[in-house]
Subunit: 341 residues, 3 copies
Amino acid sequence: MKAGELAAALGLQLRGADVEISAAVPLEAAQPGTLSFVSAPRYLAMLERVAPSCLIVPAELAEQVPCPALISSNPPADFARALTILHPPYRPSPGIDPTARIAPGARIGPDASIGAFVVIGAGVTIGARAVIHPLVTIYPDVRIGDDFLCHSHVSIREKVVIGDRVVLHNNCVIGSEGFGFVEVQGGLAKIPQVGNVVIEADVEIGANTTIDRATVGSTWIRRGVKLDNIIHIGHNCEIGAYSRFAALTGIAGSTKIGEWCEIGGQTGVADHVTIGDRVRIAAQSGIPGNIGSNVTVSGAPAIEIRRWRRQMAAYVRLPELVNRIRALERKVGLSKTAPED
Amino acid sequence: MKAGELAAALGLQLRGADVEISAAVPLEAAQPGTLSFVSAPRYLAMLERVAPSCLIVPAELAEQVPCPALISSNPPADFARALTILHPPYRPSPGIDPTARIAPGARIGPDASIGAFVVIGAGVTIGARAVIHPLVTIYPDVRIGDDFLCHSHVSIREKVVIGDRVVLHNNCVIGSEGFGFVEVQGGLAKIPQVGNVVIEADVEIGANTTIDRATVGSTWIRRGVKLDNIIHIGHNCEIGAYSRFAALTGIAGSTKIGEWCEIGGQTGVADHVTIGDRVRIAAQSGIPGNIGSNVTVSGAPAIEIRRWRRQMAAYVRLPELVNRIRALERKVGLSKTAPED
Amino acid sequence: MKAGELAAALGLQLRGADVEISAAVPLEAAQPGTLSFVSAPRYLAMLERVAPSCLIVPAELAEQVPCPALISSNPPADFARALTILHPPYRPSPGIDPTARIAPGARIGPDASIGAFVVIGAGVTIGARAVIHPLVTIYPDVRIGDDFLCHSHVSIREKVVIGDRVVLHNNCVIGSEGFGFVEVQGGLAKIPQVGNVVIEADVEIGANTTIDRATVGSTWIRRGVKLDNIIHIGHNCEIGAYSRFAALTGIAGSTKIGEWCEIGGQTGVADHVTIGDRVRIAAQSGIPGNIGSNVTVSGAPAIEIRRWRRQMAAYVRLPELVNRIRALERKVGLSKTAPED
């Protein structure tokens, strides 16, 4: 592909020669024939070691790169678009596979691609242009919007509601039953989980992630939320718009998380907690209680991150602190109090 | 539904008017037309803000609620039963889907519902009234009791034994192979995992949870155990009756956990550990060694919870403790020992 | 089976009577009719309580066991081989199930066993003697070597490359899309994940584990790697040969781990980290930065394990340390500084 064609496809201006581009790659792997991007001056030094044929750059850096440039106000976003043009993702061909089991009365919008052995229950409605890979189960009475993309082995439980442009990755489970039991004479009785899950538009859910249906009412995943792989969202949670969670994170039941939050991997949030907007939580944190908006926290229990850094600095010196206490005790004649050393 | 009808169905006494009830909801969402429950006096204050049409209450609170009441000795358990009556869960219709692949010689009990594309291997026996959702794989020689409920995309490996009234949620794996390798000249040889998994009656296993088969013998899940989503149980473990584990917990191989334990989410238990009965473990704990019965622990490594609270109280003050040590050193003329501050 | 037959099958020498063996069991469960193994003198004491009919032992212990012995230079490895002979694992019969959906042009090697409802996309090539259990999805353009063993409900995404003798356990996902988004005016744009995953020979991947495809290039799992259940490997990672990871571990994107590493369960490794060869990481560790070769670490953030043990020893005494500081303050007249106690 010519740089000029790509510029036109992206709506960007090309500065320099109309070179040939065959692949888009990260800057550290750039070589002749490839496109990459530079978003800030600190990455310019890397251009002494690599030689892309073309770069997506902000206008103020265009003069400083040694190759043709596409001028962009958001280089990472335009690079993402270029990736899709240069490396179009696999999409199955349209049409409904003859082995798919679609219940009478289920309604599938136009231009759908439904793979082999997909099972769609009674009362399901799906919007236009759905792509459903093989071996997906959609239980009855599910409602799904337009441009749905669903990978193989996904389970969508009864009565789940899904908005437009939602992407579900392989083996995720939407609407599994929440975990609630009460003790009854000598045993445990299950609290029925009769609610559902509502997933708004532009949400993406990772592989092997599970989102439990509400006990009563709805577990709610707001617009634009992005969940990585192997995440657990408990019953009756609400996850605010555009929040992103990394892998292996768990959110216990009835917790409410605000908009534009970022949660690191393997973090746990307790039940019935409220977290504000634009909260950043470091990986492996534990959140036992409420957090306001616009803070960054770390640790278990998580605290404001600068305080956490001071705490960790003291923590890693604990053996020295013990020695210093012992020296103090000797100095003042209290050393008899330390036989356990 | 009339409150009187519901009272009769539950075997409870109705005190007050025979009001109409259309839904069961948590107390905080109660409004006219709904049923909720109050289990203790401390929840009565909430009735100033919400207005259920009917409440399930213990006898001693019946006079203190401003609406008709169903008298119960266990309000949460009776509310759970009311939920099922007012919101009956989805159950597929009986019958064996013509696409199900059932091996010759497999025996399925009466009144089963077997979904599309279910695969049942040779030598499998399943009791009465099984409900198996679509796209489930049951390997050969599995034995399953009555009233089995199995959601889509579950894998049950060869020779697994499952008791009555067991519930398996979507995508869980029962009898995957344990993780055991030995070093042999320049490589790793697998230790074959030739045992199985035994799941007793009334067990419920969450979505995307995996239970490994024993190397030799059986991994054993005792009666009434409840496992949440995305839990890992290693080979040769034994989980005692009525124990409950929250999501993302992992139990390493050959560990034995007693009855009526409760384990919080993201907890890890080492291999070859023995834990007693009625042990409560806080979320995100790490259990490196044995624990007796009737204790509550927290932390990694986990310790008795009151001691853990004292430890955390000191931990969060560590930066101040460093300052106090430094002040002491200055006071007694030892400050030269602290150049690393 | 006679001990002599087993000796011949294993290529080992039998010392003692040609006894009958019906099962292979761990030493603690040994009884007449069973085979077990002893790898070191410290296990000999157990032979006072158990009575195997035959033992696999190193030559130097052969005279010290009270039963016939098979002489081995690696008893655990030869015991593993004996397990497979005495307890042959289930293998489905060869042949391609008529319900399998194999795209025209996909090439399957000789002697394959392909289960019911398996879906194999266009352009897929699979080597000789593959065993693919039911309900597996292989997306287009996947290349797989000889002796592939794939359990039910696995998803292998487009363009993944898999070597010889690879084993994939139930419900794992190979080649799911990495987690990358950039903020664009008021929303989040996905960074397309156009790379793939390469899995070399002799790799084994656990149930419900996910391995993300590279953004560009390949996520690389080197020869002989063994991953337990419910593990997450991020995009563009490289895992070195013969490294083993326990369950619920997560590796963030672009991290490189060396050869022969062992990582305990529930460990997290940050993105863009490099870890050397033969590194051992204790369970529940957190790895924020690079680690050299040949070290054992623990903790979060992980440190060298002897230092970590000293730190933990001080940590568990923190409440006592507070008391000692307070005693020092009283002694030297600084107690006014401690009102917060």
